[in-house]
């Protein structure tokens, strides 16, 4: 393990570590553009230069392996001057687009100019002009003038998505990033090039001109689009509700997790947050009688549900839990199910169109917590009915109360006629979820769930990795986290178990850790930002 010194600080690093990363480990940030730890070394921007003892000229630190006894200086006068020069070179042909460029506020030309440039500009000739505002694909917009030709996007398409759509054409200062004429950037991961572009050359079409980044708040969360559980940051616009067309969630950005998604996320997940601020969000409990939907209160709604559950025998009740629900939600639901002696319980609803899967991130299972549902045990009890059988029993009026959590049965692979007959046949249909859908439309009792970005919780991904998601927003309207609805229901049913008295998500998680073996010993603190694997 080579030991070296950076700006006087000693650090020991793994063999093969480059000097830029070694410096980072002791808190020395060396400015750079083209280097990215997830991509091959390019050495093109020349910004990451440092001085090294016994080396006559400054060298780029991204391509220099840390060696035993190396003495690195990142703040010599010569290095500082070199950085200033390199900043000037980068800005020679760069258009003064800041007022109209989405990257403003998170642009590495701006940031590094303020930190390392601050020279008087002297380029007074006509700048090189290139194509601007070119859509490359459904998600990515190119402004070739702004491009600093760091080649990160080209390397991403070659090395990560493996699709090779992007290239750098021509020579000299007429070099230009682009697609083969006539082609589009349509791979499943195209949005990642926007993240890695240090400047406003590649920007997000969905986010274009919506809200300035300095108005955004951020929360560490997860993508709920499939069983991978890519780590994300949820960026919300709360301070400028008149921007972003009033939508609270502005965008999702991947968050680095070496064990789950590295630096990346897929486009389906990245752009799949529209449901959170959609007008189909359920905002208040609703009771439907004689075909009329009447807004209700939580107290009334929970009392009504408690009464309905008490009214029927356990075998007359069917519960369709959801792998969209968090571990906490499922933990409380499991307790309820056991206390009520219910055995017609399931969480598996086959989708009408099965999802695709690839070697990178995307999983066929489009739910974030199937593994959690399995481990916590939301399946049929002894002699109990599975999902489909529940519906058939409901159609035959043997199951009288169907409690659907989060599923839109019209989108399932189950025959539409079966679903229709089941929902018609059941005396009481309860729907609990975030958005209105065909199933909620015929429910007698609708309970609005808070979206996962509106609460704390955890999901268990396909590999058994338990990860936290954190509150990014307040729940919309009267919506409540599922675990909160369910503890309230428990209390309405008169149950006095400790878990039904929980007031915070982490308390529920504590109960989960204490009662379900794979989660033993876990806590929110232990999970941190990267998560932990379940015990096998």
């Amino acid at each position: 393990m080579p030991r070296l010194t950076v700006d006087g600080k000693e650090v020991e690093v793994a063999p093969g570590t480059n000097v830029l990363e070694a410096a980072r480990q002791v808190g020395v940030e060396i400015p750079h553009y083209c280097y990215h730890p997830g991509l091959a070394i390019a050495g093109q921007c020349r910004l990451c230069m440092v001085d090294v003892d016994k080396v006559p000229r400054p060298q780029i630190s991204c391509n220099m392996q840390a060696a035993e006894g190396m003495v690195v200086h990142t703040q010599t006068e010569r290095v500082v001057e070199t950085r200033r020069s390199i900043m000037e070179f980068h800005l020679i042909n760069h258009p003064l687009d800041c007022p109209v460029c989405d990257q403003a506020g998170e642009c590495w030309l701006q940031i590094y100019y303020m930190r390392h440039g601050l020279y008087e500009p002297r380029m007074a000739d006509e700048k090189v002009h290139k194509l601007k505002a070119i859509p490359l694909g459904p998600h990515v917009m190119l402004d070739a003038e702004r491009c600093i030709l760091c080649s990160r996007c080209v390397r991403f398409c070659d090395e990560i998505s493996g699709t090779g759509e992007l290239g750098i054409f021509n020579r000299g200062d007429h070099s230009e990033i682009g697609l083969f004429p006539g082609k589009t950037l349509e791979n499943a991961y195209s949005g990642n090039v926007i993240d890695i572009c240090p400047v406003g050359a590649l920007t997000d079409r969905d986010f274009r001109f919506q809200v300035r980044v300095w108005y955004l708040d951020s929360a560490k969360s997860l993508c709920n689009g499939c069983a991978r559980g890519c780590n994300v940051d949820v960026h919300t616009s709360r301070r400028r509700p008149h921007h972003n067309q009033g939508r609270r969630v502005a965008r999702l950005k991947p968050r680095y997790n070496p064990d789950v998604n590295q630096w990346w996320m897929c486009d389906a997940g990245r752009y799949g947050f529209g449901w959170i601020d959609d007008e189909s969000r359920l905002l208040a409990p609703v009771v439907r009688s004689d075909g009329r939907a009447v807004p209700s209160t939580w107290d009334d709604a929970l009392s009504a549900l408690a009464a309905a559950l008490r009214r029927h025998r356990p075998e007359e009740i069917g519960v369709l839990a959801s792998p969209q629900m968090s571990n906490e939600d499922l933990c409380v639901l499991k307790q309820l199910v056991e206390r009520l002696g219910l055995s017609n319980v399931d969480h598996r609803v086959p989708p009408a169109t099965p999802g695709d899967q690839d070697d990178l991130l995307i999983r066929t299972d489009k739910h974030p917590n199937t593994r959690g549902a399995e481990l916590i045990g939301l399946g049929p009890g002894a002699g109990g009915l599975d999902g489909r059988a529940m519906l058939e029993a409901a159609a035959a009026r043997r199951v009288k109360l169907v409690w659907i959590l989060h599923h839109d049965l019209a989108r399932s692979a189950w025959p539409a006629s079966l679903v229709e007959r089941a929902l018609e046949g059941a005396e009481t249909v309860v729907y609990q979820g975030t958005n209105a859908n065909a199933s909620s439309g015929v429910a007698h009792l609708v309970l609005p769930s808070a979206a996962y970005v509106e609460r704390d919780g955890t999901f268990t991904n396909f590999a058994g990795h338990v990860q936290r998601f954190r509150t990014a927003l307040d729940p919309l309207g009267e919506a409540r986290p599922d675990w909160d609805i369910l503890t309230g229901l428990g209390r309405a049913l008169g149950f006095t178990d400790a878990v039904f008295g929980a007031e915070r998500a982490d308390q529920v998680f504590q109960a989960l850790a204490a009662s379900v073996a794979p989660f033993a010993g876990m806590s929110y603190r232990a999970l941190g930002d990267r998560g932990l694997g379940v015990r096998t």
Binding site: T163, G164, E165, L166, G167, I168, N170, F180, K183
Partner: protein, 161 residues
């Protein structure tokens, strides 16, 4: 009839492509020779030619486009039956390249970069062809012509059909 819009190598040409690809440790090494072959066969390296050649190398078209746009000898648009490339680098400039270029522009009635309307000659200026001892000089198709004077240029042009 295969051309730059509908490129397709003959069986013979494909055999040559394969032969070239086997000469290199990685078949990609044959890309430049095959693009030369394609330009000779189809007249110029059109986008269709790039995509066709990309298929022969299992490369994305974008990467072939990178190569085609990087090198000056691959023409991206049709050229005349003859290409006249006048050097305008240092020694040729010292020895009167400007006069030769202006003379050619007048004689041919085109600007640098253009082709005569009858498709006979494309006029280009290029960087050092490394024949400075006979400056000012130009490349006419495959051959070098040096010690140019306006008269000599006229004689050379006469020989181009």
């Amino acid at each position: 009839m295969a051309d730059a819009a509908r490129p397709e190598f003959t069986a013979e040409q494909l055999a040559e492509v394969q032969r070239l690809q086997l000469l290199y440790p990685d078949k990609r090494g044959a890309l430049l020779p095959v693009l030369h072959l394609a330009q000779d066969a189809f007249g110029y390296v059109s986008l269709e030619v790039e995509e066709y050649v990309a298929g022969l190398f299992d490369l994305s078209p974008a990467h072939v486009h990178e190569v085609a746009t990087f090198y000056t000898m691959f023409f991206k648009a049709p050229v005349g039956r003859h290409v006249v490339s006048v050097c305008h680098n240092l020694t040729c400039h010292l020895m009167g390249a400007k006069t030769i270029v202006e003379h050619l522009q007048r004689r041919l009635g085109v600007d640098v970069g253009e082709t005569t309307p009858d498709g006979r000659v494309t006029l280009l200026t290029v960087e050092c062809l490394c024949a400075c001892e006979v400056a000012p000089m130009m490349q006419v198709d495959d051959r070098y012509e040096g010690l140019l004077t306006p008269d000599k240029v006229d004689r050379i042009l006469e020989g181009l059909r």
